[in-house]
C-alpha cells in the first residue's frame, strides 16, 4: 500500500520526461524524413539517365543542317560546357539579348542545326525537341556540379534584367492576387511539408535556383528551370509566360544573382 504513491510519482516523472522527448522526435521526422528520402535516392538519381542522353545529343549531328552543338557558345566560348551553367543567364553579344540556358540552346539549335526555334518554344514539355532541351540542360548543368553560382552583372542589360526580374517577382496578380514573393519572400515558409526557399536573398547551397534542373520522382520527369518557372506561373493562376520569354529569363537573373556564391547541385532530385 505504502509503495503505490511512490510508483505513481515515479510514473509521473517518467511521463514528464518522456513527453518532450517524443515531441522533439516527431518534429524531427517531418522535416528530416524528406531529407532522408532524398538521401536514399541520391545514389540513384535518374537525372543521370538524362545526362547520358544530353551528352549524346550534344555530340550527334542533328537537324536539317546535320550539325552537332559542339560549336555552341554558352557564354564561355564555343563548345565550352564546363562552368557555363553557373554563369547563366547572361548577355550574349551575337544575339544582343540576355539569355538563359534554354533560350541559348534554342539559338544554337536554330543557327547551327537549322531547327525552328519558335516552333520548339511552342512545343509542349517533353514532346519532340523539348525533350532534347530537357536532356541537354541535365547534362550541361551537371558539368558545373559543385561550382558556385557566378552570374555576371557587368553588362547594363544584365543589370536591367535583374531589376525586371525583381519587379516580376513582386508583381501581384491573377485570381489569387499572388506574386512569387507571396511564397518565396520570407524565411521558413512551407507548402504542405515542403520547405520553401526565400529567393529574395541567397537561400544557401543547393537550394532554389542552385537546385534546378531537377528530376521529379513523383512524375518521373526531368524539369529545366523554364519548366519550373512555368509551373510557378500555373500555381499562381497566371497565364503561360511563354517558353524562354524575357520575363522567365529576367526571373532567372534575379534568382540567380541573389544566389551568387551558392553551390550548384543540379541536376538535383526532387520528391
Amino acid at each position: 500500500m505504502s509503495l503505490t504513491p511512490w510508483i505513481a510519482a515515479t510514473l509521473a516523472v517518467a511521463l514528464a520526461l518522456a513527453m518532450p522527448a517524443s515531441a522533439v522526435a516527431q518534429q524531427k521526422t517531418t522535416a528530416q524524413s524528406i531529407a532522408e528520402y532524398r538521401q536514399m535516392l541520391e545514389d540513384g538519381n535518374p537525372a543521370e539517365l538524362f545526362e547520358a542522353k544530353g551528352e549524346d545529343l550534344w555530340k550527334t549531328p542533328r537537324g536539317p543542317k546535320k550539325a552537332t552543338l559542339q560549336a555552341c557558345d554558352l557564354g564561355l566560348g564555343p563548345g565550352v560546357v564546363k562552368g557555363a551553367w553557373v554563369q547563366l543567364p547572361r548577355f550574349f553579344s551575337d544575339t544582343g539579348r540576355v539569355q538563359d540556358l534554354e533560350s541559348r540552346l534554342l539559338t544554337c539549335m536554330q543557327n547551327l542545326q537549322g531547327f525552328n526555334a519558335a516552333e520548339i518554344a511552342k512545343t509542349g514539355f517533353d514532346k519532340g525537341e523539348q525533350a532534347t532541351l530537357a536532356a541537354l540542360s541535365a547534362w550541361i548543368s551537371a558539368q558545373s556540379k559543385g561550382q558556385k553560382m557566378a552570374l555576371p552583372q557587368a553588362h547594363a542589360d544584365e543589370r536591367r534584367f535583374y531589376e525586371l526580374g525583381k519587379r516580376a517577382f513582386f508583381f501581384r496578380g491573377g485570381p489569387m492576387d499572388f506574386s512569387c514573393a507571396s511564397c518565396h519572400g520570407e524565411d521558413d515558409r512551407r507548402i504542405r511539408l515542403q520547405d520553401l526557399p526565400n529567393l529574395t536573398k541567397n537561400p544557401g547551397d543547393g537550394i532554389g535556383f542552385a537546385a534546378w534542373p531537377a528530376y521529379r520522382v513523383s512524375s518521373g520527369e526531368m524539369w529545366s528551370m523554364q519548366r519550373r518557372l512555368n509551373d510557378c506561373f500555373r500555381q499562381q493562376r497566371f497565364p503561360y509566360p511563354g517558353f524562354a520569354s524575357d520575363v522567365t529569363i529576367a526571373l532567372g537573373v534575379y534568382m540567380g544573382v541573389n544566389a551568387r556564391g551558392a553551390e550548384s547541385i543540379a541536376p538535383a532530385l526532387k520528391r
Binding site: 545514389d43 540513384g44 535518374p46 543521370e48 539517365l49 547520358a52 542522353k53 520522382v217 518521373g220
Partner: protein, 103 residues
C-alpha cells in the same frame, strides 16, 4: 532500342555494391491519356544480374515499380575487375543488357 542503363559496382568490404538505373517508362496500363484512351501497359517483368556470367540475382517485377527504376544490391565474393551484367526484359518482349566492371 531502349536507352542504356547506368551501372556502378563498387567494392565495400568483402561485398560489391551494385547500383543500377534503368531507363524505362513503366506504364501500369491503368492510366488514360488526354483523349481518355487507356495507355497500354509497358513495364519490366524480368530482371537478372550476372557476375562473370554466373547468375547472382533474378527478380520478377510488375507495374508497381516506378518509372526509370533504381536497383541496388550487394554481391558477396566479387572482387575488383569482375564483370557485372544486368539484363531486363519487358512485357513487350523488348530487352536490354548492360555491363560494368567492379571497382
Amino acid at each position: 532500342m531502349a536507352d542504356p542503363m547506368r551501372i556502378r559496382a563498387q567494392m565495400a568490404g568483402d561485398k560489391a555494391t551494385v547500383r543500377v538505373l534503368m531507363s524505362h517508362e513503366m506504364e501500369t496500363g491503368l492510366r488514360k491519356d488526354a483523349a481518355g484512351k487507356v495507355i497500354p501497359a509497358w513495364y519490366i517483368q524480368d530482371v537478372s544480374a550476372q557476375l562473370n556470367g554466373k547468375p547472382v540475382l533474378t527478380a520478377q517485377w510488375g507495374p508497381s515499380v516506378s518509372k526509370n527504376p533504381f536497383l541496388q544490391f550487394s554481391v558477396r565474393g566479387a572482387k575488383a575487375g569482375d564483370k557485372i551484367a544486368v539484363s531486363w526484359k519487358d512485357n513487350k518482349g523488348e530487352s536490354r543488357t548492360d555491363e560494368a566492371t567492379v571497382s
